[in-house]
Symmetry: C2
Subunit: 334 residues, 2 copies
DNA sequence: CCCTCTCGGGTAATCGATTACTAGACACTA
DNA sequence: TAGTGTCTAGTAATCGATTACCCGAGAGGG
């Protein structure tokens, strides 16, 4: 492990001062062309690479962004992570990734860790719209923070997500238009921002319709296993249900499992819809009718806002909700 | 954005010197109990948090590990990332995640970026077993590096992966035992370490059998789309093929698409096997017979080796190949 | 009583870069 | 010629923590 060359080494070898080296390399101020020349050449020869830790200390700017997601394994998040990594690289920024394991206590620890590492900003999809508040508020007071996907409304930061209610509305009207008579809903519990919004979206629809069209609702987590169990319960108790609206694709896949097990053909006897349009939505059979989130736009916008806040000091807490797109496939055809 | 408290502030408030504060907090040397007491209390009151950038500069240790994967979106990698994040957190280490986009040039840039950020060590699944070599060798000379999943054999670092050949052998013997007569193979190109090893595994089997049992081979990338196209070609040209061995699950899912389109029932007319046992392997239908990698063990071992190298200086370049497990499901039953 | 040793604490150097401040050299003007 | 301004370069302070080094007080030994 050879020692890296420092500005000092370059200065010595080039016969100028460290200030000149720094200025020649950063272009912060004009240096005489011949000095610039020799500094650049010497740096090249010595294989000089800036020590970003030292730069970070001096400039109080690490060039790294923290990102916290509830669960990397949920297939929805790798899309966001991947996109974030791509966009940040374009800005020469590093991505420090953490998972909160859907636990506010773990999340608080990760937030503290990222704060100690002096990340320049934080992108977070909070694990709970209530329990995440204290830690999130504390960090938001110290550095720019943008919430994405999930939101803690009580904390005053920018948020970038989608219009959940509109997504559910698109699904319900599609199902009704396709002749479905009795709809049930399987969602995540209300601790989850999207879970709550999607359930509310469903209830909004239910309020406009007569009660015979409304099946029960179940709430739990965003997993395939929960979807399976909830769907079994629903379908066994209420044989008239002919459509299940699920709060995400994993739940919908679990519901497909249940339907298969109970011998209910999808979509003939039962329609099932998902939400998110993750890759698996086209792997299951039938493929899922679902709601596609504009992942790239969400991440790009979130990062734009974050970078603006980093560059320009505290900005106002904007809320951006992108429209979503209904994707019709075999599990709930027109 | 209030200023963080520094050791200096704590020292002032506690009425001791910065050295005493540092020693009391780190326990590096004994300090009188009453001093320890007041320092701890004062630090608590002021909400002092160590500035890890400053610590990193002084101690030349950032407490962050770099991780480079070929493509975060490939459902296999989030499992590894998630596991790595979990294990590193237990050691109070941060995870700086990068994607190489399966491109050696991008990969080289990410490596440089991580080196400049002075990560304490690097976990990498190289994108190419040849083109990744120069950048990888350069970084391995400067810091501890462990390769996982994929390997550049020419670079002298530890590697942790699986026994690909044994995995393919398990698959082929299972298929033959189940009465399959003519096997074809769809793999990734030889630039990819696992791609090559899995193809070689298949060829090893082919060498032990008469030529009528061997269908063609196709190589491309590890995607569903490639699997679909390759399987179509194979099946249209050679109607006797009754089993396709795929180099990963995504390819296998593409092959299922092709079989469905051509009206070949799986598994009755055609068996299809995958590799990796990612989550989608149980979403498609029929579910995939595949080879499960011990993801947790791979990551834990890789990190153990890396941490040992960080702590104890350069270690020898060990090669760890975990055994794999055949998972039999509907796409190729017994 | 003086010397040595231990204990614990303070001062200042250090990590590697950036940059405020200072100053020399030169040109131009009055 | 003296004064003023411009252009560059060098010196040293700085970021925040750790730690090498030094020093004073008190204990114990000769």
């Amino acid at each position: 492990m050879g020692q890296r060359a420092t500005v000092k080494d370059v200065a010595l070898a080039a016969g100028v001062s460290v200030a000149t080296v720094s200025r020649a390399l950063s272009g912060a101020r004009v240096v005489r062309p011949e000095h610039r020349e020799i500094v650049l050449r010497t740096a090249e020869q010595l294989g000089y690479r800036p020590h970003s830790i030292a730069q970070a200390l001096r400039q109080s700017r690490t060039g790294a962004i923290g990102m916290i997601v509830p669960r990397i394994n949920n297939p929805f998040f790798p899309q966001l992570v991947s996109e974030a990594e791509r966009v940040l690289q374009q800005h020469d920024l590093g991505l420090l990734l953490c998972s909160s394991d859907e636990d506010p206590a773990t999340e608080a620890k990760r937030i503290t860790m990222l704060a100690e590492r002096q990340v320049d900003g934080l992108l977070i999809s909070p694990s709970s719209q209530y329990a995440s508040a204290p830690a999130l508020a504390a960090v938001a007071a110290r550095m720019p923070v943008v919430q994405f996907d999930q939101c803690v409304p009580s904390v005053d930061t920018a948020f970038v997500g989608i219009d959940d209610a509109a997504g559910i509305a698109a699904v319900t009207s599609h199902l009704v238009a396709a002749g479905r008579r009795r709809l049930a809903f399987i969602g995540a519990d209300d601790d989850n921002w999207s879970g709550l919004r999607r359930r509310e979206g469903f209830e909004t629809w239910a309020a406009t319709t007569d009660s015979s069209a409304l099946g029960r609702m179940e709430t739990g987590d965003f997993s395939r296993d929960f979807g399976y169990r909830a769907a079994r319960r629903l379908l066994q108790r209420d044989e008239q249900i002919d459509a299940i609206v699920c709060a995400n694709d994993l739940i919908a896949i679990g519901a497909l499992d249940a339907a298969a097990e109970l011998g209910l053909p999808v979509p003939d006897r039962l329609a099932i819809t998902g939400f998110d349009d993750v890759n698996v939505a086209t792997v299951c059979s039938p493929a899922l009718t679902t709601v596609r989130q504009p992942v790239a736009a969400i991440v790009e916008t979130a990062i734009d806002i974050l970078l603006a806040a980093i560059a320009g000091g505290p900005a106002e807490a904007t809320v951006t909700q992108f429209p979503v797109e209904l994707i019709v496939r075999g599990s709930a055809p027109a």
